[in-house]
C-alpha cells in the first residue's frame, strides 16, 4: 500500500515534468511561442549535445567547476571551523545571534561589483562571493548539529571512559553527521548559485558568463543549450544528494 503510493508519486512527478516539457515543445513547434523567445526543448538538447561534442565550452566548464570547487572546499572548511569555534564560545554566539538571523536577508550579489573592483576580473572575487553565500550555511548547520547532540550520549562516552578525541570521533561527529551533511549540501547549492550568478553579472569566463555573452550576441541556441546544461547538472546533483540525505534521515528517525 505504502510502496504503491511511493510509485504513484514518482510516476506523477515524472508525468508533470514530462508533460511540461512536451507542452513547451508543442507550443514552440506549432509557432504559438515565437522562436526568438523560446526554443523547443528538443532543440536545446540537440544544441547542447553539439556544444559538448565540439569542445567549445570545455574551457568555460572547467573554469566554473574549478571556481565552484575552490569556493565549496573553502566554505565547508571555514564554516565548520567557525561553527565549532562559536559553539564553544556562548558569549560570542549570543552577540552573533542577531547577525546570523539576518545574514541571508542581505542580497550579497550587490557586493560582487565591489569585489571585482578590489580583486580584479578573475576567479578570486567569484570564490569570495560563493563563500560569502555558502560558508554561513555550513556554519549554522554545524552549530545546529553540535547543539542537538543528546546529552545522554556524551554521558555514555564518559561511562565508557572514552578520551576527548575518541568522544569527538565516535559520538560527536556521527551524532552531528546529518546536520553536517545538510550543511555541505546547502554549501554546494549556494556556491553554485553564487559563482554562476557572479559570472553572469560580470566575468571574463565561465558558464554564467557564456550565457550572458550569448544573450548579448542574440545567440539563442547557445544560450538555451547552456541554461539546460546548468539546470540538468544542478538538478541531478541536488536530487541525488537529497535522496541520500532522506535515506539517512529515515534510518535515524525515531519512531
Amino acid at each position: 500500500m505504502k510502496l504503491k503510493r511511493e510509485h504513484a508519486l514518482t510516476l506523477a512527478r515524472l508525468g508533470v515534468i514530462g508533460g511540461a516539457v512536451l507542452l513547451v515543445e508543442a507550443l514552440c513547434r506549432s509557432g504559438v511561442i515565437n522562436p526568438l523567445t523560446l526554443l523547443p526543448p528538443s532543440r536545446m538538447a540537440a544544441d547542447l549535445f553539439g556544444l559538448l561534442a565540439s569542445g567549445q565550452i570545455a574551457h568555460d566548464m572547467a573554469f566554473t567547476a574549478g571556481t565552484i570547487g575552490a569556493a565549496l572546499v573553502l566554505s565547508i572548511a571555514l564554516g565548520f571551523g567557525l561553527g565549532v569555534l562559536v559553539h564553544a564560545l556562548p558569549r560570542v554566539r549570543r552577540a552573533l545571534d542577531p547577525l546570523l538571523a539576518s545574514y541571508y536577508s542581505v542580497p550579497f550579489f550587490i557586493f560582487y561589483p565591489l569585489l571585482v573592483a578590489i580583486f580584479g576580473l578573475n576567479a578570486f572575487p567569484l570564490v569570495v562571493l560563493g563563500m560569502a553565500f555558502a560558508a554561513p550555511a555550513m556554519m549554522m548547520s554545524t552549530m545546529a548539529g553540535l547543539d542537538r547532540i543528546p546529552r545522554v550520549l556524551l554521558r555514555v562516552a564518559r561511562a565508557h571512559r572514552l578520551s576527548r578525541v575518541e568522544t569527538v570521533r565516535q559520538i560527536v561527529l556521527p551524532s552531528a553527521a546529518p546536520y553536517l551533511f545538510t550543511g555541505m549540501r546547502l554549501a554546494l547549492a549556494y556556491t553554485f548559485i553564487g559563482v554562476i550568478a557572479g559570472e553572469f553579472i560580470m566575468a571574463s569566463s565561465g558558464i554564467g558568463h557564456a550565457i550572458a555573452y550569448a544573450y548579448e550576441g542574440f545567440d539563442n541556441n547557445t544560450m538555451y543549450a547552456l541554461m539546460l546544461l546548468v539546470l540538468v547538472v544542478v538538478t541531478v546533483i541536488n536530487m541525488s544528494l537529497h535522496a541520500y540525505e532522506t535515506r539517512l534521515a529515515k534510518r535515524r528517525a525515531r519512531a
Partner: protein
C-alpha cells in the same frame, strides 16, 4: 528525621559486620550545584551496597536521585565526602567494572543494534573472538538476536532500552547502575523488563542499583529499597523486602508486596507533597 538516618546507618553497619566488604561506599557525600542561588541536591549521605545486592532508590521528583547516581558512578564529583568502589576512591572518572543505563534513549542511531552492543567492548582489551562471543550472547540474552542488523529507529522504545542494557552487559560489569531505565515505557512493558532485569541480575551475579520513581517497581525488584527525601536528598528510610533470590513479577499478588508498597508510599507521601509545593504544578525535572 535524623533518627531515621541514624537507623539507616545502623542497618548498614550491621550488614557490614556480618557480610563481605561493600562494593560501593559513600561517606558523608554531599553535592551542591553552584550558581547565583546554590542548590543543595544531596545532603550528607552514607550508603553501602553489598556484593550481589539489588538495591533501589525511590524518592519524589527532583530529590537528587540522579545526583546520587552521578556521584556514585564517577560521572559527577561530590562536593564533599568520599566514594569508593571495591575499595578504590572514585573521583570524576567512571571506574572499570561499572555499567550505566540511562533514562533517556542512549542508543546510537547511526549504528546497527549489533554495533551498538559491540561499542561496549570497542575500547577494552578483550580479544576479538571473545568480544564476538560476548556480543552474540548479550544479543541473545536480551532477545535482540533477530534484530542485530536493524537500526535503533526501527525498534520500539523497550527494545532500544534493551540495546543499551546489552551494550553495558558485554563489559561484564560487577556493578550496574540504572537511572529510571523504564521511565518512558508503558506499564506492561515495564513489568516484563523488570523480569528481564531480575534474570540478568541472577545470571550475572552483579550488584544492581536501580533508581526509579515507581514504588511497585522498587518493591517488586529489590532486596532493599532506600527512600529519599525531597531536596536536599537524603535517605529517610531503608526497607528490606526479604524476597527470595528466585522471584519474578508474579510476587505482585503476594500480600507482602502490598505491605512494602504501602510502607514506601507512607514515607514518600509527605515528601512528594513538599517537592510539588516547592516546584509548583507541572514543574517536572
Amino acid at each position: 528525621m535524623t533518627a531515621l538516618v541514624q537507623r539507616a546507618r545502623m542497618d548498614d553497619t550491621l550488614a557490614e559486620a556480618v557480610g563481605p566488604p561493600p562494593v560501593v561506599s559513600l561517606r558523608a557525600v554531599t553535592r551542591v550545584y553552584p550558581g547565583v542561588k546554590p542548590v543543595e541536591a544531596l545532603a550528607p549521605t552514607d550508603l553501602d551496597l553489598n556484593p550481589g545486592e539489588f538495591f533501589s532508590v525511590v524518592g519524589p521528583s527532583g530529590c537528587g536521585k540522579s545526583t546520587l547516581l552521578d556521584v556514585l558512578s564517577g560521572l559527577g564529583r561530590p562536593t564533599s565526602g568520599t566514594v569508593t568502589f571495591n575499595g578504590q576512591a572514585v573521583d570524576g572518572v567512571v571506574p572499570e567494572g561499572v555499567g550505566i543505563v540511562f533514562q533517556e534513549d542512549a542508543s546510537f542511531p547511526w549504528l546497527t543494534v549489533r554495533d551498538n552492543v559491540a561499542f561496549g567492548l570497542k575500547h577494552s582489551t578483550v580479544p576479538a573472538d571473545e568480544s564476538q562471543r560476548r556480543v552474540d550472547h548479550a544479543l541473545r540474552f536480551m532477545g535482540l538476536a533477530d534484530f542485530a542488523g536493524a537500526y535503533p529507529a526501527q525498534l520500539s522504545g523497550g527494545m532500544r532500552q534493551r540495546v543499551c542494557i546489552a551494550r553495558t552487559l558485554v563489559t561484564r560489569p560487577s556493578l550496574i547502575l540504572l537511572d529510571e531505565p523504564f521511565g518512558a515505557l508503558d506499564q506492561q512493558t515495564r513489568l516484563l523488563m523488570g523480569d528481564e532485569l531480575l534474570r540478568l541480575w541472577r545470571e550475572t551475579g552483579a550488584t544492581i542499583l536501580l533508581i526509579t520513581h515507581a514504588l511497585d517497581e522498587a518493591a517488586m525488584l529489590s532486596d532493599r529499597v532506600g527512600v529519599m527525601s525531597a531536596r536536599p536528598g537524603r535517605f529517610i528510610d531503608m526497607v528490606e523486602t526479604g524476597w527470595p533470590r528466585e522471584r519474578d513479577s508474579s510476587i505482585v499478588s503476594d500480600p507482602r508486596f502490598g505491605e512494602i508498597t504501602a510502607r514506601l508510599w507512607s514515607r514518600l507521601r509527605a515528601e512528594s507533597l513538599r517537592a510539588m509545593g516547592a516546584q509548583g504544578p507541572g514543574g517536572g525535572r
